[in-house]
Structure formats: structure tokens, C-alpha cells
Amino acid sequence: MLRFIVRRLLITIPMVLIIVTLTWGLIRLAPGNFYTGEKRIPPAIVKNIREKYGLDKPWYVQYGKMMGRLLKGDFGDSLTYPGQSVNQILWRALPVSATLGLLAYLLALLVGLTAGTLAALKQNSKLDYASMALAMLGISVPNFVLGPLLVLLFSLTLYWLPPARWGGFPSWNLVMPVLTLSALYMAYIARLTRAGMLEILRADYVRTARAKGLTERQVIFRHVMRGGLLPVISFSGPALAYIITGTVVVEQIFALPGLGNYFINANFSRDEPLIIGIVAFLSILILVFNLLVDIAYALIDPRIRY
């Protein structure tokens, strides 16, 4: 197990380097530069800018410098937010995105697991059909449609909730963004839980558990849940990547100053250090999280050994 963790952590480093290189290469391959806008800049100033950001050096020197900085954990200075380092921006934006993503995931787990389990235990009942139809709806309605519709209903018609902006952690501003973000994962988790549980309910070891006289409650919670949850756990790796993509949209809709919002703005303003900083940071997050998921998997499923 320890060997597995160490090996995986060692793979993580080159993978982050690959992702960063890919992003950097894409940015550099694109013709044009961050200072080439509509306005003509005098050549002397262009020369100064190029010198300041080291753009007059050959590409491998620039690449090496960037990588060297990155390995020290320094993402450099933003090109569009004057006087702010990328690290500062990351630390300011992270709490917003993390709160949003975490709450959305927890809500999705809570509702999805409950609905999926109930649907599986009462297969083909009205409850089953209703929750699966709702889940299909959750998968099919895009978040950028759901979010505005919620705003239309709760803010512009009923005047219950504030329509946008960040208001700190426990605030009414969070309700709609979290709901919007979590709908898709709620639906996925409900479907996965139901499918997983139905499969396990027919497994031999569940029959054995019943046969040896366990109460139904014990059978469900000790044996069925444990096996039925495996698909949900293995989904939480991709789920994080999806949630990060989802926060990009949700932060745009509700004007929240999170990582996704900064990422989009950085892309439009060609703020290379900020783009690379966010990509590198999120890649590390996703890779480490995937490792944790694999470890959790091994702990829950005794058949898996590393």
C-alpha cells in the first residue's frame, strides 16, 4: 500500500509537468501576444515589455525559467492584475471555489445516495420511477439553463434569494449556486447508487448474509451499502474534474470571484502566468484527489490490493 502511494505520488509530478507544458505550448503556439491589442504600441515600448518578461530570450530559456519557478511553488506575477502575484490571486479565489464545490458535492452525495438507495430497495415502485425521472432531468438540463431559471424564480419573481455576488460562507447567496452546481452530480450519484445497489442485492454474499439470519437493516447497511457504494466512490475522481468545470459556469452566472472566473478572464486577456498557475494548481488538486479515491477504494473493497 505504501509503495503504491509513493509510486503514485511520483507519477503525479511528471504529469503536472506534462499538463503545464501542454498549456504553455498551446499558448506559445498561438500567434500574437498579450501586448498585441487593438492599440498600436511604439516599438521601443514593445522592446521594453519583451525584455521585462524575458520574451526576447529563446523559447527554451523561457520554458526553463518558468519551470524552475513553478517547481519552487512560485507562479509569477499576473499580467492583468497589477501588482498581484498569481499566488495571491489563487489564495484569494480558492476559498470561493472550494466552498462552492465542496458544498455542492456534499449536497449531491446526501441527496443522490438517499434517492438511489431508496429507489433500489423499492425497485419499480412509484418512488423509483419518480427519482429516476428526476435524475434524468438533472442530467439533461444544462447548468447554465438551470441557474438562470432558479434566479428567475427565486430572485426575480419571489424575491426570496439574492440573485448574484459573493456573501461569505454561511449566506443566502450560496443557495442557488450550490443547487445549480450540484444538480448534475446528484443525478449521476443517484443513478450510480441505484445500479450498484441493485447488482449487489442479487449477489450471493447478500443471500448468505440473509440466510445466516441478519436483520434486513444489517444486511443493507453492512453488506449491500458497502458494495453498492463502490461505483459512487470511483465516480468521485471524475466528479471533481467535472465540478471544477462546472464552477467555471456557475461563477460566471452568479458573478462569484472564484478560480473559474479568474481562469476565463485570464484566457480572454492572455494572462499567461495566471492561466498556467490555475491549470497547475487544479491539476495537482485533481491528481492528489484521485490518489485519495484509490486509497479509499482499497479500504472499502477488500478484493482490491495494491
Binding site: 504529469m15 499538463i19 501542454l22 498549456t23 498551446l26 499558448i27 503556439l29 498561438a30 500567434p31 500574437g32 498585441t36 425497485q123 434524468m136 432531468l137 442530467i139 439533461s140 438540463v141 444544462p142 447554465f144 439553463v145 438562470p148 431559471l149 434566479v151 428567475l152 426575480l156 441505484r194 445500479a195 441493485l198 447488482e199 442479487r202 475522481g237 471524475p238 474534474a241 471544477i244 468545470t245 467555471v248 459556469v249 460566471q252 452566472i253 481562469f263 476565463i264 484566457n267 480572454f268 492572455r270 492561466i275 490555475i278 491549470v279 487544479l282 491539476s283 485533481i286 491528481l287 484521485n290
Partner: protein
Amino acid sequence: MKDQPPINKPESDTPEPALTPLGTVSEPPIRSREGDIIHTAPEFAIGEGDVRSADTGVLEPLAGTSLWKDAWRRLLKNKLAVFGMIVLAIIVVASVLGPYIIEWRTGFSYDTVPPQMELNKAMPPFRDVNGNFSGLHPMGTDILGRDILARVLMGGQISLLVGIIATFVSLIIGIAFGATAGYLGGRVDNLMMRIVDVLYSLPYMMIVIVLLAFFGGNSRFMQYLQSIGISQQKGQLFLLFIALGAVSWLTMARIVRGQVMSLKNQEFVLAARATGVSTTRIIFRHLVPNTLGPVIVYATLTIPQVMLQEAFLSFLGLGVQAPLASWGSLASEGIQNIAIFPWQLIFPGVTMALTLFSLNFLGDGLRDALDPQMRKV
């Protein structure tokens, strides 16, 4: 099985005699003078306890059915899948023909307004300029006076096009990659699948965003394309096909690999190899066609995902560029005026949700029909 006579359900009292596979009407039972039924020869052949006679309610000639026919019959039994198919057919036909019909009947195209119209006035659904009922704009107009129905249908064309072509791109990459890995096996397979694993855990949408931001839209790259004679619209769509196709093939590769691995040790592959067929030909002519079932199912489920991704990018302003529209870009226009003109968001949004809903139902139904064992019990 083919030459078995039809089985008549014992308690059925259908007046008309059964049809044999040959289409001839079988003789009614002959009665003896005492009233006992004297069985005709074919009915003698099947015992009373025959399982097949117990549960078949319908008289079915036991003609050989192909896998596809069988699957089609199962699909038609699935009400939700049929619903999906019908809705989808309506949306596809409306998207393809609708914009032209609207332009022909009313003069409104997705991007233009007839010259005599009053501009800069967004009208609610089924209302004219004076607020009276009118059938001219069933979905209303936007702030520039453009007909929203025409825009939604045109957007549908683009959304469906991107969904289908990008899925096709992902299909080609996924099949080639998965089939090669599965057939070659061993170290090559190991390496190729490790690559897939690595790609799975990348935040690839972020890289797609970077790609489209730096190469799409109004970038220098697009200006360069225009200088060599490729219009910006075409260039942007092409970029979308490639970008979305390139990130959607991973699961397809896994599915095809699994299928090929289970097929490659069967006799027909051995026979092909024995007759000297090349490896490439075995993979693409003998193995790939046999994986078609799961591939079709998964492709049906990939289309809605790709469409969602396209809409996501267009919503952020990175996908389809004006004057072209897709459901994502229409929604992003709609959200700006949501307080005053909510119908600008609601119609494209609901149309898109309905399409994805139908595609998902159809995909689920196809999976159940083509592979009953994979059915979610």
C-alpha cells in the same frame, strides 16, 4: 428452429387458424365422430408441457430473427426510448427545415429581419408590436427584432452538427486506439491503456478552453485562416469538432478494447489469420464490425455529452461565434436580459434540455435493447 411448426397457445380461442412459416393456413383440428380432437401431425410433435407454448400470447412464426431486428423490437417496447426517438426526429427535422420555412413564410431569418419591420423591440411570444395576439413569432423576438424560433432552430442545426461530428471524430479515434490496443495485447496494450488512464485524470476542459481562447474567436490564428481563404465560421466549427472529439474518445477506446479482447480468440479471427489476412485488416474488417452494438450505444450517449460541452464553451463565448448561433450561445445571450425578456433564455434552454433528455432516453433504451445483459436490472 426454422422448420418448427407454429405453436398454438392451448387456451387461445382465436377463430382464424395459425399461419405456418410458409404462409399456408394450417388445417383446423379434425374431429372424430365422438367429438375428440384428432390431432394433426404437427401438433402431435409438441408435447403439452412444452415451455414455449405456455407463455407466448401471440402467434409468432419462428422465423430466424437477426440481432438487429430483435433489438429493434425490444427498443419499440421501451416507451421512453420511443418517446425519445419521436421527439428527436421532430427536433432534427424542424432544425434542418425550419429556418428556411420561416424565412420563406415570414421573411425572418435567424440573423435578419425584413426591411419594413420595426427594430430594437423585443416582443414576447405570440405578441405583435402593439401587444395583441399574433402567430408571427411563437417564441417572441430578441432585442434586435430577430425571430427567436428561427434562431433556436438554426442553433439546433449547429448544436446537433457539432454533437454528431465531434462524436464521430471521437468514434474514429476511440475505435482505432481501442481496437489496436485490444488486438495487440501485451506490453503495447499496457502502454496504450496507461495513456488513456493518464488522460482520464487530466482537467482536459481547461486545456480545451485555452485552445479555443488562443486559437478560436478573433485570434491571430483565425485571421491567418481567413487570409488563406477559410472563413472564420468554418474555422471555428472545425476547431470545435477537433477539440471536443479529441477529449471524448477515452471511454470509447476502453469499450472497444474490452470487446476486441473478448473476440480476438474466436475461430473466425484464427481463420482470417490462417488465410493470411493482415493485422490491420483483421482489426478493421473482422473485429471492429463485431463491436458495433456497444459502440452505437455509447455513441448515442456521447452525443448529448458533447452537445453539453459545446454549449458550455459557447456559453462562455469560446464556442460558436456570432452571427452563427448554437443553443449555448443563445442561452448566454438570453441570460443578459433575463429580468426583462426571460423567453430569450427559456426557449433555447428548454429545447436543448428536451433534446438531451431524448438522446439520453434513446441511448439507455438502445443499451437495454442491444445488450440485455448490460441492462440496469
